[in-house]
């Protein structure tokens, strides 16, 4: 079935376009990843809320979400260019020009000719997206160290110098920053926070990391336990960081987990055990408190005003504006650097404007700074599974499109017709997708007119249902390649 000379000849005539597209796609994907401005997109997205751009920006609040436009538009059009021209080159061009006559004047079966050419088309697309995906992976790892480890954030970068440690080493041992005053100051400045806020932030991050490590180990242990048990779902075996935050008790049951958690915090296992115990206690007391509160009703000795989820946004805005007035600054400047609200003059104005106590205002400012810093960290996280499915999805989509072009390339005898149909359909898909991506309210019918709908990047990013779309793409590709193979062995060739 497989003919080596034909495969070699296919490579020889098509490798240039393949190489160009592969390189360009790799560079653009790497550019998207390296150029990702986590803090910037977060603020743009909030500014664009409610405008026509919001749909475009909504997914940009994470590194992988930011890649949606790469996958849905840029990678799509590059893939289309490659598969349309290559499919055309492989079959109809040789039939139309007549050079297929030389191949078929040898004792080679038509079956082998078309099978080998299909194989070239499929394997070249596969190799292209393996390389492009690896390039993206490499770029992310080099820039953020977030594929194999924790992201290297600006503060880690800044603290690396006074501590004389490599950034990667430090990103796994954040407690080293806590222990060094100079490092703390540099790191806080790098994240636009003061020392107080930064140390709250750092402690939170370290605790989270310790939970993350322990969660991994507990999940591994549970997988070993339930390996034989078919009744239990993978989802139920898995213990997430969030599960542990709600119920740290589980950590105490595993020695390995305790060791791993202690290592992240740079403390002894005993100390870590103590820490977890304290966490468990404080969670319990919080729960009790809640119960008591609801029983006691609204009678309390706390200040008249309380910061709740509902009024936090408004209160913060008021604090910012009054601070800006007191400091004679633009409110945007204050918003960008919330430490300014801690200036005595600003504080006084803010207390007056909100009626809150000084402590409350400072806590609120800290919370805001810490949570926005954590949001940026989260945006820089690299979910390998999501990335894997995005890459598989893109490959399936381009493979399905290549099957359309390949099919028309074998169906028609004239290059012009084959190119018009086999290139026109994929290009129409691209245009429809562009309209969908760039416009807010597109008629729902458009979704049914393009194959790209089956590659549901939104669902992949949101860990929703996307498997059937990819399976459908695979079925389309298989069907059309098979049909092309059958047609070519039976058709009249005008040679």
């Amino acid at each position: 079935m497989f003919s080596k000379p034909i495969f070699k000849q296919s490579v020889k005539t098509n490798w240039r376009l393949w190489a160009i597209i592969t390189i360009v796609a790799s560079i653009i994907l790497s550019g998207f990843i390296i150029g990702y401005d986590a803090a910037g997109y977060a603020s743009i997205a909030s500014a664009a809320e409610g405008t026509a751009f919001s749909s475009l920006l909504s997914s940009m609040d994470s590194l992988l979400g930011n890649l949606e436009n790469f996958y849905k538009l840029i990678a799509l059009i590059l893939g289309i260019v490659y598969v349309v021209f290559t499919a055309n080159n492989l079959v109809v061009n040789e039939v139309d020009s007549g050079s297929m006559a030389y191949t078929l004047s040898t004792p080679i079966k038509r079956r082998s000719v078309i099978f080998t050419k299909s194989l070239y088309m499929i394997s070249s697309v596969l190799l292209m997206y393996v390389i492009v995906s690896l390039a993206g992976l490499g770029a992310s790892q080099l820039q953020y160290n977030n594929v194999t480890g924790y992201p290297i954030t600006d503060d880690v970068e800044a603290a690396a110098e006074p501590l004389d440690q490599s950034k990667r080493y430090l990103s796994e041992r954040l407690y080293l920053i806590e222990d060094n005053e100079q490092a703390m100051r540099d790191a806080a400045a790098a994240r636009d926070m003061d020392l107080e806020a930064y140390s709250i932030y750092l402690t939170e991050v370290i605790n989270d990391h310790s939970y993350e490590e322990t969660a991994k180990i507990i999940t591994d242990e549970r997988e070993d336990i339930y390996e034989e048990d078919d009744d239990i779902e993978d989802e139920d075996i898995k213990i997430t960081t969030e599960d542990l935050m709600k119920d740290p008790q589980m950590i105490l049951e595993s020695n390995d987990a305790l060791t791993a958690g202690a290592k992240v915090k740079g403390i002894s296992v005993n100390e870590y055990q103590q820490f977890v115990n304290n966490e468990v206690k404080s969670l319990r007391s919080k729960e009790n408190k809640k119960v008591e509160e609801s029983e006691e009703g609204q009678e309390d000795t706390q200040p008249a005003f309380r910061v709740t989820e509902e009024n936090a946004g408004l209160l913060l805005q008021t604090v910012i504006e009054s601070s800006a007035n007191a400091l004679n600054m633009n409110s945007n400047q204050v918003e960008d650097n919330l430490t300014l609200t801690k200036d005595p003059a600003a504080l006084e104005a803010a207390i007056e404007a909100t009626g809150l106590q000084e402590e409350q205002i400072i806590t609120m400012t800290h919370n805001t700074m810490v949570s926005s810093a954590r949001a940026v960290d989260q945006a820089l996280e690299f979910d390998r599974e999501t990335y894997f499915w995005l890459s598989i999805g893109l490959f399936s989509l381009i493979l399905a499109i290549s099957s359309i072009s390949f099919f028309t390339s074998t169906l028609f005898n004239r290059t012009g017709v084959a190119l018009a149909v086999g290139g026109g359909i994929p290009f129409a898909f691209f245009l429809l997708t562009m309209v969908q991506q760039l416009m807010d309210d597109t008629p729902a019918i458009l979704e049914y007119l393009t194959l790209t709908t089956l590659f549901d990047t939104d669902a992949i990013l949101a860990s929703g249902e996307f498997g059937w779309g990819l399976i459908a793409l695979g079925i389309i590709a298989f069907g059309l390649y098979t049909a092309a193979n059958i047609i070519f062995t039976k058709k009249d060739l005008p040679l």
């Binding site: 003919s3 080596k4 000379p5 034909i6 070699k8 000849q9 020889k12 005539t13 080159n89 061009n93 040789e94 020009s97 007549g98 050079s99 006559a101 030389y102 191949t103 078929l104 004047s105 040898t106 004792p107 080679i108 079966k109 038509r110 009249d492 060739l493 005008p494 040679l495």
Partner: protein, 312 residues
């Protein structure tokens, strides 16, 4: 034994194009000419013989194997020279030769070397930079590199200069001497005339005549054009002759007539009694014969008749 069999082959492309009920056979060791104007159906017939297309009706076989069903199998013994010179893109001549050798699973390259020397081809250049003649030579080398027993040649000399045309004819004659079976399609009379044992003439998709080349060469009929010294002699000859005069031209005092070899003596006896200005033999060539069919107005019957009488 017939190596190539074309049996009532019909393929209708519509609008009168195609081939209709074409039949002929090429015997082992025979060189068969397939003559006809452009668009008559020569290439269509060969395309079907090579298994590129499927017939509507009829049957084609090479070495007893069906051309469509066993298309790959029969190619072991067939060397095919396509009419169109469309090579795969982006190759040098040597790369193309290597590619074809690999596809034929050929390891012995002595024949290839000999062919390259015979046709004096420089195959190191990129194909797209080659002249038409060099491309044609390259096609010849790759078509016969495996020393096939059957040669199918579609317009083999178009694009070759006269010297190379002659060399190609010598090549075909050499292959013929080695006992190869050859099907040669052409619209050039001289190469068909020089090489072929039998000739089929195809016009508008229909084989209008199949002739033995020797039949034409050793035609026992001879045609003459005779001009008399004056009108009196012209009249005298017409009056007295026992022979059939096919054309009379009183104004020029000319006649044309055809005699068999046996009646030659009789003709000259009669001519000795009149005064002549000149007498010349009208030579009958394949070209004349072909031109009869080429002319759309002439029917098949007219052509047959001319062959018989050698009259033109």
């Amino acid at each position: 034994m017939s190596v190539i069999k074309v049996n009532h082959a019909t393929k209708d492309y519509g609008h009168g194009r195609g081939i209709f009920d074409v039949s002929f056979e090429v015997k082992e060791g025979e060189t068969f000419g397939f003559l006809g104007p452009n668009g008559a159906g020569k290439s269509t017939t060969i395309r079907h013989l090579m298994g590129f297309s499927k017939l509507d009706d009829g049957e084609l076989s090479i070495n007893g194997k069906n051309s469509w069903k066993s298309a790959d199998n029969i190619k072991h013994d067939v060397g095919y020279l396509p009419g169109e010179l469309a090579f795969p893109k982006g190759m040098t001549g040597d790369q193309f030769i290597e590619y074809m050798a690999k596809e034929r699973q050929l390891t012995d390259m002595t024949q290839t070397k000999e062919l390259k020397e015979l046709f004096e081809i420089d195959s190191s250049k990129a194909i797209k930079e080659m002249s038409l003649g060099t491309k044609r030579k390259l096609a010849v080398v790759t078509a016969f590199m495996h020393d096939p027993k059957i040669l199918i040649l579609d317009e083999p000399t178009s694009g070759l200069d006269p010297v190379m045309q002659e060399r190609f004819i010598q090549f075909v004659l050499k292959e013929k001497a080695e006992g190869k079976t050859i099907l040669l399609s052409s619209h050039i009379f001289t190469e068909v005339d020089a090489t072929c044992d039998r000739i089929a003439i195809i016009k508008d998709g229909v084989v209008v005549s199949t002739v033995e080349a020797d039949e034409l060469k050793q035609n026992t009929n001879k045609s003459f054009k005779i001009e008399f010294a004056n009108f009196k002699d012209y009249q005298k000859f017409i009056k007295n002759t026992a022979l059939t005069i096919s054309v009379k031209r009183p104004k020029q005092n000319q006649v044309k007539l055809t005699v068999t070899d046996q009646k030659m003596q009789e003709l000259f006896m009669e001519l000795s009694e009149v005064k002549l200005k000149f007498i010349s033999e009208i030579k009958f060539t394949l070209e004349d014969y072909f031109m009869d069919f080429y002319d759309r107005d002439k029917t098949v019957a007219d052509g047959e008749e001319n062959l018989q009488y050698g009259m033109h």
